[in-house]
């Protein structure tokens, strides 16, 4: 990884007051985060909350709370972001009930009687970020096709970038079992990519 743009360097630059460094830093993690958020949202929540909104909020909170982040390992910034995203999703889920009740008030700006008003979010539209790129879409399709625990292993170790030990803790399995699970997950993933090879 190029030393100038490595996460550590960027983090150091932000810590020393260079706000411009935040954009590339976040950009480096944006796709990973988008995938995690996509699978972090429950099916019901997906129809109300867009991945991009969660990303946006995560980004702002990360910015706001950056002072609280301490660099421990190359992956710690990503896990920190993932944790913030989890909170944002939890908040979104909590406010869902409220928002339903407040729907009337929102109608002022988003209703059929106001054609000029902004469109309500289209629940069938996947996240723009995830949808507008062919690669990302294909990745999601394949991840969708995996069984839940396989997908979980890939999300933890490949997307969030946890070490085998950390992922094992998260899954409540032994290191070996986790490695095995991941191995099978990748094998299945590859089979989706190259159908007929196995």
């Amino acid at each position: 990884m190029d030393a100038v743009t490595s996460s550590y360097n960027l983090i150091e630059r932000i810590k020393s007051g260079d706000q411009q460094a935040f954009a590339p830093l976040f950009d480096k993690h944006r796709r990973r985060l988008a995938v995690l958020i996509h699978y972090g949202l429950s099916l019901e929540l997906r129809s109300f909350v867009e991945v991009d909104d969660v990303l946006q909020e995560t980004w702002l909170r990360a910015f706001r709370d950056f002072g609280q982040f301490t660099y421990r390992s190359p992956g710690s910034f990503m896990s920190w972001l993932a944790r913030i995203a989890d909170h944002v999703i939890a908040d979104a889920a909590r406010s869902q009930g409220r928002q339903k009740r407040h729907a009337i008030e929102l109608l002022r700006f988003r209703s059929a009687s106001n054609p000029a008003g902004p469109e309500p979010m289209d629940s069938k539209t996947p996240s723009r970020l995830l949808a507008q790129e062919e690669n990302m879409r294909r990745l999601l399709e394949k991840l969708d096709a995996l069984p839940h625990d396989y997908r979980q292993a890939i999300l933890l170790m490949k997307v969030e970038g946890l070490s085998t030990g950390e992922a094992a803790d998260r899954l409540g399995k032994s290191k070996e079992a986790t490695a095995l699970l991941l191995h099978r997950a990748i094998k299945r993933f590859r089979a989706l990519e190259h159908p007929g090879e196995e």
Binding site: G17, Q19, Q56, G75, R128, S163, L182, H183, I186
Partner: protein, 805 residues
């Protein structure tokens, strides 16, 4: 080793062991990546040579994921095509004049009309997204319908076969803050007024700008501002698009509202009001209200800190403009102007040299902290005897007044403008109409139709009132809700009349019915009146909770007072009025006590501020009932005559006895640990000197009268003389009694009655004797001299006293 619960028979075999080795290798590969080490498939496979054949495809699959998750190279990804198109919508593209998150703006030439136009094009990276493209065009279509002199005009939309774009007015102007630099304050206010009206226009067409900033408001040579880029953030799906190019947000969040910076609440028009405030701030002071070296710091400033007051930066800025600016910059949207239009009208008031309505709550916040600190210090000074109790009280009162300045809408309600007067006039006519239906018989409007008409009036005022309140049109809402407060009991009465509820007569005597006294009135009973008022009370109290407007606790207290009068009616007040008016006043006393109790309960248990109207009613009832009893209650008069036989009646004693009662009430109130109740004590204290001295004066006059009838009586002469001397003495006592607590009314009343006493002495004891005025002159001079040189005198007196024993 692996204690997998899902143990396959397979795994126990050799291939199972191999699979575990393979899995461990993959895990190791990923762990290296997690540690930030450089990884390379080839070299890694060389280490695990025996597994390489199976390992390599797996690692390659991982790299495919990795590649997808890596950010694209910015330049390539964001601007895949930097070349300018030649033509769009048939206009020749000349150059690029700007670019933002959504796309870029080209300068083009409309050859048919021979004018320059600006063309906004959706960025190529969004063009593949059908939903986004559709939204872009849809919003452009909606905005093309908007025409306002201060809003950039959209001429046409690009045809479907070309890249998504729309053609708009090309503006040659400079950003607002730059244009404003050489202007006078008045011109700046005029400019801001136009901008606020333009933004209000957008809001009325359901467009929230969301990105108001000086760069988005161009000012032409005629000082005509034009608002640009409206609604783009919104139409492009809000923040999400900003996020895909973080530089956008990094550039100009200085004008973001707290809710926008936090991205927490759904934004409404008041978010734009905040941005307008931030722009106005910069217009006035030349500096943005919130600055920060880093975005987190900036966001923190926006969300938490009050900006430096504009007048601190430039003392020539009028206070009214500062009020407008700070009001728009309130953190809580509810404290801001409810709309850009409201801000515009306040600017208009400033331009018309009228006082503006804005009273920023942040002033109170600004002061409250310091004031609390100062009050604590004053408390300490009081304990050290540096300041007196009364000085502390007056400071506290003044400070309270500073902090509790009323909201703008209350001031708007109090200002008698044409619309306000019309509002109340209309409300009053509405109430009068309903009252007529209640009072009189109309052959063509009786029974159910009457009920329907009056209920419809009450219900519609309530509905409109609540709706206006929710929409922050409080000035109007209050008028409707007040009308509703009066209409509600009227509607209940009409309803009860129709249904025939509570038709029982007071003590079965039609003569005791209030409405029966008037020939032409309907036969509404006292009981119906009582119930209608009683049933309305909870509604008033709900309105108070709903609006937090204190006027409804006033309504509550007044209606409770009405309820007590109606209670008296039900007890037979009309009969007493004819035969024994004193009884009315006597029966009023328990109600006064009830109001005190109600006030104390309300204050003690939840709503201290609401209790004050109940106390007011209680105090008024106490004054009325005690005075009335003293004047008209015959058993009391007889008792007085028996106990104090030397006067002609009760009038002379009325004031002094009542003053005694008030004095004890004052003590009682002061001892109670309730702030409002303690304030009531002041009211009682206020009337005491007047009562006592009036009483002494009347007693003296009565004694002189008696004496004049039988001039020979020595006893009567002594009595008359006694009162003549007592009056000025008592007055002097009150004059000096004013000292400890700074009671100005004690001083004023005492001085007034002292003058009366001196004149009375002159009329009798010192008739035509020059010694009296001379003595007064001498005494006055002596007192003044003594007062000027007070301490030696006091020391002389104390020496004298010490020497005596």
């Amino acid at each position: 080793m692996a204690k997998e619960p899902r143990h396959d028979a397979q795994e126990t075999t050799a291939s199972g062991a191999r699979e575990q080795l393979l899995a461990d290798a993959v895990a190791e590969y990923l762990d290296r990546q997690a540690r930030g080490e450089a990884t390379d498939i080839e070299s890694f496979c060389r280490i695990h040579e025996s597994l390489a054949l199976d390992l390599k495809p797996l690692l390659e699959a991982l790299e495919v994921i990795e590649a997808t998750l890596q950010p694209r190279q910015p330049a390539a990804a964001l601007e895949p095509d930097k070349r300018l198109p030649d033509f769009l919508s048939g206009h020749k593209i000349l150059s690029e004049i700007g670019s933002g998150g959504m796309g870029c703006v080209y300068l083009a030439f409309d050859e048919r009309l021979g004018r320059k136009v600006a063309i906004k094009v959706l960025s190529p990276r969004f063009r593949d997204n059908a939903v986004l493209r559709e939204r872009f065009m849809q919003e452009a279509r909606a905005m093309a319908k908007l025409r306002h002199p201060n809003v950039a005009h959209i001429y046409s939309l690009g045809p479907a076969e070309e890249a998504p774009h729309f053609v708009m007015e090309y503006l040659e102007g400079v950003p607002l803050t730059e244009a404003a630099r050489p202007l006078t304050l008045r011109q700046k206010a005029e400019l801001m007024h136009k901008v606020a009206l333009a933004v209000e226009f957008l809001h009325q067409h359901q467009v929230i700008h969301r990105d108001l900033k000086p760069a988005n408001i161009l000012v032409g040579p005629e000082l005509e501002p034009k608002v640009l880029d409206f609604g783009l953030a919104l139409q492009s799906g809000d923040h999400a698009t900003r996020l895909s190019s973080p530089g956008d947000l990094l550039g100009t969040p200085n004008y973001f509202s707290p809710e926008q910076a936090r991205a927490s609440a759904p934004l409404d028009v008041r978010s734009d009001v905040f941005s307008l405030g931030a722009i106005f701030y910069e217009l006035l002071t030349g500096e943005a209200p919130f600055r920060g070296d880093t975005l987190p710091v900036l966001i923190q400033h926006i969300c938490q800190d009050d900006p430096v007051l504009p007048r601190r930066l430039d003392p020539t800025i009028p206070g009214d403009l500062q009020n407008i600016c700070v009001k728009a910059l309130e953190k809580n949207p509810a404290d801001r102007y409810g709309s850009a239009g409201e801000m515009a009208s306040d600017l208009e008031r400033f331009l018309a040299e009228e006082p503006v309505l804005a009273v920023p709550t942040s002033y109170a916040r600004l002061m409250a902290g310091k004031i609390d600190q100062h009050l604590r210090e004053l408390q300490g000074w009081k304990q050290d005897r540096i300041v007196s109790e009364s000085e502390l009280d007056s400071f506290r009162k003044l400070y309270d007044r500073l902090v509790d300045r009323e909201d703008a809408w209350i001031m708007a309600v109090r200002r008698l403008t044409l619309s306000q007067v019309t509002l109340y006039f209309g409300a009053w006519i509405l109430v009068l109409g309903a009252t007529l239906v209640m009072l009189f018989n109309y052959p063509s409007l009786s029974g159910t139709p009457a009920v329907l008409v009056v209920s419809a009036a009450a219900a519609s005022t309530a509905w409109i009132g609540v709706r206006c309140w929710r929409q922050e049109q409080r000035r109007i809402a209050i008028a409707y809700l007040l009308a509703f407060c009066l209409l509600l009991p009227v509607a209940l009465l009409v309803g009860m009349d129709r249904v025939g509820l509570f038709t029982g007569l007071t003590r079965n005597d039609a003569a005791l019915e209030f409405f029966a006294r008037f020939e032409s009135f309907k036969r509404t009973t006292n009981a119906q009146l009582w119930w209608s008022v009683l049933l309305s009370l909870p509604v008033y109290s709900w309105l108070r909770r709903f609006t937090h407007a204190s006027v409804f606790s006033l309504v509550c207290a007044v209606m409770a007072a009405v309820l007590s009068v109606v209670s008296l009616l039900r007890m037979g007040m009309l009969e007493w009025l004819d035969s024994d008016p004193g009884k009315v006043y006597l029966e009023l006393i328990p109600f006064a006590v009830l109001f005190f109790l109600a006030g104390a309960l309300i204050e003690r248990f939840r709503y201290p501020a609401d209790s004050r109207y109940f106390y007011s009613v209680a105090v008024a009832a106490t004054f009325i009932s005690l005075s009335g009893v003293a004047l008209f209650h015959e058993p009391y008069a007889n008792w007085l005559k028996r106990v104090v036989p030397r006067t002609r009646g009760q009038l002379e004693y009325l004031f002094i006895i009542n003053a005694g009662i008030y004095l004890s009430l004052q003590f009682l109130c002061e001892r109670l640990p309730l702030a409002q109740m303690r304030a009531v004590a002041n009211t009682f204290r206020f009337v005491i000197p007047g009562h006592v001295l009036t009483s002494l004066l009347l007693l003296g006059l009565a004694a002189s009268d008696l004496w004049e009838k039988t001039l020979s009586s020595a006893a009567l002469r002594h009595e008359a003389r006694f009162f003549e001397i007592v009056l000025p003495l008592a007055a002097s006592l009150f004059v000096f009694g004013s000292v400890p607590r700074q009671l100005k009314n004690f001083l004023a009343t005492g001085l007034l009655f002292l003058a009366i006493g001196i004149v009375r002495l002159e009329q009798d004891l010192f008739k035509q004797r020059a010694t009296w005025p001379l003595g007064l002159l001498g005494a006055g001079l002596l007192l003044m001299l003594a007062a000027a040189d007070y301490s030696p005198l006091r020391m002389a007196v104390s020496r004298l006293i010490r020497r005596q024993p």
